[in-house]
Amino acid sequence: MSIDAALEKALVEAVQDQHQPENVSNRMLAWLTALSVGEKNESQMLEYFDVLMDSIVIEAPENED
């Protein structure tokens, strides 16, 4: 079961716009695909979430001690 092609393309572009690596869009697409076939299990959702968070890159703040 695939995600709509336009949504997939839009997602990839949106990820690039945020200067995020490719695996962020891969993981989001995987999560969307699971949702599209009715995934509701809470622990599964949490796993998708954790894995996605791990892939998102943020810069360290400028003003450290």
């Binding site: 079961m1 995600i3 709509d4 092609a5 336009a6 949504l7 393309k9 839009a10 997602l11 572009e13 949106a14 990820v15 716009d17 945020q18 995020q20 962020v24 989001m28 999560w31 969307l32 949702l35 599209s36 076939v37 009715g38 959702m45 949490l46 979430f49 996605l52 968070m53 998102i56 943020i58 450290e64 001690d65």
Partner: protein, 664 residues
Amino acid sequence: MKISLTGWESESLRSPDIKIDLVKANGNLPKVALIQMPNGTGKTTTLELLSATLNGSAERWNEEKILSFRRVGSEASKGHFIVHLLINDAPLSIQLAINFENSIVSYKTTYPSDGGVVSKWSPPPEIMKFLSEEFLKLFIFDGEFAAKLLDDANEKADHAIDALCQLYLVDKIRNFARNEWSKKSSNEGTKTEVGLKQKKSTRSKLLSQKSKIEKLRNKISGDQIILKKRVEELDTKISQKLSTNGSTKDRFEEARIELGKSTGELKLLTSEVIQAIRNPIALHSEIGSGLNLLKENLDQLRLPENTSSQFFEELKKEKVCICGREMTEGARTEITNNAHQYLDSEDSGVLNALKADIGSYLEKDEDKDLHEKLSDEIGKLRLSRRKKKNAKSVVDALEKKLTDQGDNQVKEWREELNMKLGILQETESLLKSIDAPSKEERNSNVVIEDLFSLELINSRLDHINHEISKITKTVDLNRKIKVLENICENAIAKARNKIRLELTEESNTRLKTVLKNDPITIEKIEKNIKLVAQKGASVGQTLSVGYAFLMSVLNRGKNDFPLVVDSPAGSIERVVRKELAALIPTLCHQFVGFTINTEFDGFVPVLKENSDDCIFLTLFRITEGTKRLMPGLPSEGVVKTNNAVLVSGYEYFSSFDQEDEDGI
């Protein structure tokens, strides 16, 4: 993906008990199926059950909703509704079973190519998205829906796009992330960037204070070395200078030794006395007596009682109270209300320990009690203090004598020595503060700038570093979620825009065919559909545009869906009905329309004319009002159940006229 509706069955529900089979005798599905159901037959109920069976939403019904599907006056404890589909020519059935007695709904899914029956709502994954509540509304809807797609007051076009592309799933991800952050952050302390900044600022101050105190300590230590050296030097110089008077000097030296000894003794005694004084009973016998009296009275009062919460719980279960009276409900309530006033087992533990300690301190079998011992120690302390004082006086007197016998130089040295000793004492005091243990003081509210104890500063640093680490994780999570939200928002906007453009193009292509004699063009799709020269568009054109858009949506991705429409011609004029009737056969591979008799005129004949592949069904309830219709039923194509009649055929369909409907 091609989905077709082949029929449905209803039993013991509010809708008529009937089986509707849309498949023709030759096994094919007609392009158009119209089902005529007079008002009150259960059209709305049927459509509602159709949707609920297909999208699995009945599992979320409450008791009231469940019972609303029970036929009035019926004693049936159960009912069911089954929908039959073809998925790419493979049959799929979904059954919704309602148990009215227990207010429970259940599903069964039968998909032969997948292995048979599953006792739950379980369509195959590849069609699940199309059976979602959002998507189902795109092909099972009421007749006004198509026009609403162009209505400024509605956002139906966007909703259609969202449903098609499942953009709502992106929202699900976004909402899940927000909820997770809320959960995680509600367990921590200050979560924001501001909170983290404050903590880091505090850490900065602590580090600065630590550095300052360490430097001070080093300086003091260095100063002390110099001071002590100078004190020694001065002492030696003074002594040497005064050595001219031998006997006075000898006595002076002896007096200094004696002073040193008595100072040491006093220090030791003081320490011992403080230790002894830490027991209040030692301070005065009256204190011990007062505590003993408390103990004795508690014993006499039998406090603490041997009661526990368990005792009261068990007492309430008895038929008779311990006072001998019947254990009524009122008595139980009183016990429950008053039990908390009694000392429970934990309170008793403290009191018993208190009594035990009093007993043990007072009942010690020794020669002297604590107070007497302390009094003795205090006596020694007094003596020791006096001894030191006397020794100091002797030293001072002899020193003065020696000084007087000496010269101004000795006086100056003496002055300098006293000053240096004073400074030494201050530095000792300061060092003591710096080296003070933090174990007892770690929870003090002293401001950072007033902190001297290095141990305390380090302890606070450890604590704040730990807090920063915790907050940093939450703050980082928050930042990541913000990134995710931006991605989601962006992706939805981009997808929507792209799809709008695609659908505009596709709908316009479709419209060129559908309305070739009466062309109209979609300018753009936003929350609703905007036409070029919209104000000039007729109702018929508007309707056509709505349907064309819907079909573009439904056919996207090479999918093929039926349209199931409630009252497709209900609220439109005759001339528009004709246009719609001409349009419908071109829209999709299967059109199922639920009509009432009043929609016949201008719609049904044109539909029949434009499609050579139609079936016409008439369904009505068997009631007092419809009894008169029974003799007029045709000889063929009639199915009767306990409470309904289904007649197939255009002739009966077209003759089921206004008068008959009024009579029902």
